[in-house]
């Protein structure tokens, strides 16, 4: 233990002479805007995705507030439609998809591989600015009237409604390029930039998750791109492909849309699983159970994700045979997901668990994701889905996966790498409080919605029958608890930035390579080229981390 700390101190003194940390390396506005440093781009992404999350979150609070009473509470029906559409579009395209890969992944992936940067640093910066452009287009759409189609833009409604459908969908098209560029960059980086001595099975599991995600980003996103172009052309001039009035097939749009958007669900959840695979072994101080099982299940999820899109369309009138096939394939997704959950739990078994904030979030993830995954099987069953389709049960299910899964995992990762990113520790007690509030608030909000949905409350409705009011109110109270948890988090994270740079290089006792870099890392990440000398997750002779 002592010699590890000794060694880190030595590195610090040696590099202190000629290499500054990346945060202090030039602080003019141009030093940031023109940077090709993956760490700075990651931080810039982080600021924007968190801003998007704040905006999307406030919209969600407004939706819940409106649903406090059956009739009008704070907004009229048209506004309500725009608000839930915006909530969905912002959360999906501006927050969740870029959140883990582009913000956290950009920062830690090259560090984990022992690389100086991603393979194409300029493409990385381009990806960031394309994201900004796409975000501006969506902002423009809000200012010019908003969209009321829901984030899925289903035809024929989206080809006939007024509002800024064209600008929003072109914004999605542009954001797609940003996502593709990140994907291309990560695949090339993982193939070619691994440190000497690091084979495919010596990579941290986070990297496997990022790899699987990137494959989906590259393969699925172009289809969404062309779909959005077709939708805009159909709306503006009439191709005759989606609009039934001129001979089109609106269900074809659903096929096109879900061919991307179902894999996109895994673009969102795989990175979350990737973070959990790092946090759980670190805070259990025990080698990950079933490394290859977790690695291959990520790839398996990525591949299977392409052949299950039809389960979004069981009630669209597609043939019963196709429905049966898609239902069967959907159940297959449960296998690799289950493998992961069992491996994580097996890793914790007989480990020396320390309940720091990242681990608290990771445990919350395990509980919430398991509920989200299992209720997905309900919806994948044909007969049950006929009853539950387009009800709050679906809303609750995907919030358990997307928020209980991805967002909670994102928070785990944010707390795990925060000291690495900013060189500062946050208030651990407030973090635990915030995690508890979010966990309770989340379950109050969304567990209730399973009940609402199974009793027949349809999603996206502005009004509802009086009998649903108690449950809706309970759900809305939950959203306030959730909101409180997030505002406390915002407070202590911002407060930590004002403190001194007090984080050691490896505050948690992690074994992957990013913990060998200083906190915050120097601009070139490591002084010299690091060489991997032992497998990841080997916790022998690694201290449990520094307290406080």
């Amino acid at each position: 233990m002592a010699d590890v700390i000794q060694q880190q101190v030595q590195t610090a003194t040696i590099s202190g002479h000629h290499e500054v940390d990346y945060l202090s390396d030039g602080n003019g506005i141009k030093d940031w805007l023109y940077t090709v440093d993956h760490k700075r781009i990651g931080i810039m992404y982080l600021i924007l995705v968190l801003t998007a999350f704040l905006a999307g979150g406030l919209l969600a609070m407004a939706i819940r507030l409106e649903l406090l009473t059956p009739a009008r509470t704070i907004m009229d029906a048209e506004t309500y439609n725009r608000v839930f559409t915006l909530h969905g579009a912002i959360m999906v395209f501006l927050f969740i998809i870029p959140s883990i890969p582009a913000a956290l992944g950009n920062f830690v992936l090259p560090l984990m591989l022992g690389a100086k940067d991603v393979a194409f640093p300029r493409l990385n910066l381009a990806s960031f600015y394309i994201y900004v452009l796409g975000a501006c287009m969506m902002l423009g759409a809000i200012l010019t009237g908003g969209v009321d189609t829901g984030w899925t833009f289903y035809t024929p409604y989206s080809t006939s409604t007024s509002g800024s459908v064209a600008l929003t969908t072109m914004g999605v098209f542009v954001l797609g390029f940003s996502s593709i560029f990140t994907g291309i960059n990560f695949i090339a980086t993982i193939h070619k930039m691994r440190a000497p001595g690091m084979g495919w099975f010596e990579m941290p599991l986070f990297v496997w998750g990022m790899y699987s995600t990137a494959v989906i980003q590259v393969l699925a996103t172009p289809v969404l791109g062309i779909t959005m172009v077709l939708l805009v052309l159909e709306r503006a001039f009439g191709i005759g492909i989606f609009d039934p009035r001129i001979g089109g097939d609106p269900v074809l749009f659903q096929h096109f849309f879900w061919f991307y958007s179902h894999p996109a669900v895994y673009i969102m959840i795989l990175p979350g699983m990737a973070i959990i695979s790092e946090v759980i072994p670190t805070f259990s101080h025990r080698t990950i159970f079933g490394y290859r099982g977790i690695a291959f299940s990520s790839v398996a999820i990525a591949l299977v994700s392409f052949i299950v899109w039809g389960h979004h369309m069981f009630t669209s009138g597609q043939s019963q045979l196709i429905n049966g096939v898609f239902s069967f394939l959907t159940f297959i997704v449960g296998i690799p997901s289950g493998i992961k959950v069992f491996n994580w739990v097996a890793t914790m078994y007989q480990g020396r668990i320390t309940l720091k904030a990242p681990m608290l979030f990771a445990i919350s993830f395990l509980l919430l994701f398991t509920i989200g995954g299992l209720t997905g099987l309900f919806l994948g069953s044909l007969s049950v889905d006929i009853h539950l389709h387009d009800t709050y049960f679906v809303v609750a299910h995907f919030h358990y996966v997307m928020m209980g899964g991805t967002v909670i995992a994102f928070l785990a990762g944010l707390h795990y790498w925060w000291p690495k990113m900013f060189g500062r520790m946050y208030n651990e007690k407030l973090a635990a409080l915030s995690c508890a509030l979010i966990f309770v608030g989340f379950n109050v909000t969304f567990l209730t919605q399973f009940v609402l949905g199974s009793r027949g409350m349809p999603r996206r409705y502005y009004n509802y029958l009086d009998q649903f009011q108690p449950l809706h109110q309970f759900s809305t109270f939950g959203s306030w608890i959730l909101g409180l948890g997030f505002f406390i988090m915002l407070g202590y994270l911002l407060a930590s930035l004002r403190g001194p740079k007090n984080a050691p290089a490896d505050p948690w006792g992690g074994t992957t390579m990013e913990w060998q870099a200083l906190s915050p890392p120097i601009t070139h990440n490591f002084s010299g080229t690091p060489v991997l000398t032992r497998a990841p997750y080997d916790y022998r002779n690694v201290p449990q981390g520094v307290d406080k």
Binding site: D3, V4, Q7, G114, A115, K116, D117, A119, F120, P121, L123, I180, G183, I184, N185, I187, A188, T189, H191, K192, M193, A195, P196, V218, L219, A220, T221, P222, V223, G225, I226, T227, L230, L233, A236, F237, G238, I239, G240, I241, I246, G247, D249, L252, F256, T511, M513, Q516, F526, S527, G528, T529, P530, V531, L532, T533, R534, N541
Partner: protein, 224 residues
């Protein structure tokens, strides 16, 4: 015990001027670039793939319209353009080979022929488009104004004809722009047998653009 050892950077080492600092070797950089290009091509295939699927579905809905509408296309011009693109693909291969063998003049010559072929393709396409324009055989419900004898649904065919060949045409234009830039660098003598990655990459791109046309030609011009 330490997880990593570090190799100190050897600053005396002679670096290829084209090698970016974050790569350890020029070979690593070249391999990474190639992977990046292949992935980009995969995204291109999927982008066009969406249009191909749309084409097939709509053809299934309007088989008669497809058969009747395709007679408006001039097969000879389509065939001519196919030959032009095949020739350009060949000269592109020769250009890459010339770069690999350090033959600058051959590289420049072959790039010029490729660029000229690309222009010929666009000129032929211009004549085809303007002919359609004058007859009112235009894409989309909003523009289609042909009044001659026809089967219902022919405008769908022209929507797809223009979207697919149009998107392909933009790729030809983009290819020309990049080839001109590479030509400029070739004149400046930037490429050697040690470093010719950009030539290699534009070659890959150009073959894909050619390949897409190989599919477009029978799908649009040779329906029976």
């Amino acid at each position: 015990m330490s997880v990593v050892e570090t190799i100190q950077h050897d600053h005396a080492e002679v670096h290829d001027p084209h090698q970016q600092h974050h790569f350890a070797t020029a070979e690593q950089q070249q391999d990474a670039s190639k992977i990046g290009m292949w992935l980009f091509l995969v995204t291109e295939v999927l982008l066009f793939g969406g249009l191909f699927v749309g084409y097939i579905v709509m053809q299934g809905r309007f088989p008669e319209a497809w058969k009747s509408a395709h007679h408006h296309l001039q097969r000879e011009l389509g065939a001519l353009n196919t030959v032009v693109l095949l020739v350009s693909s060949f000269t592109m291969v020769m250009a890459v080979q010339a770069a690999k063998l350090n033959r600058r003049k051959q590289l420049i010559g072959n790039l010029w022929v490729t660029i000229i072929c690309a222009f010929i393709f666009l000129i032929v396409k211009y004549f085809e488009y303007s002919h359609k324009y004058h007859e009112g055989l235009l894409p989309f419900k909003a523009f289609y104004s042909y009044t001659g004898p026809q089967v219902p649904g022919e405008f769908h065919f022209f929507s797809f004809y223009f979207m697919m060949t149009g998107l392909h045409g933009f790729h030809i234009l983009g290819g020309i722009a990049v080839m001109l830039w590479i030509l400029k660098r070739a004149y400046a003598g930037e490429f050697t047998s040690q470093y010719y990655t950009p030539v290699d990459l534009i070659g890959l791109y150009w073959h894909l653009v050619d390949l897409i046309w190989i599919y477009l030609f029978p799908l649009l011009y040779l329906i029976s």
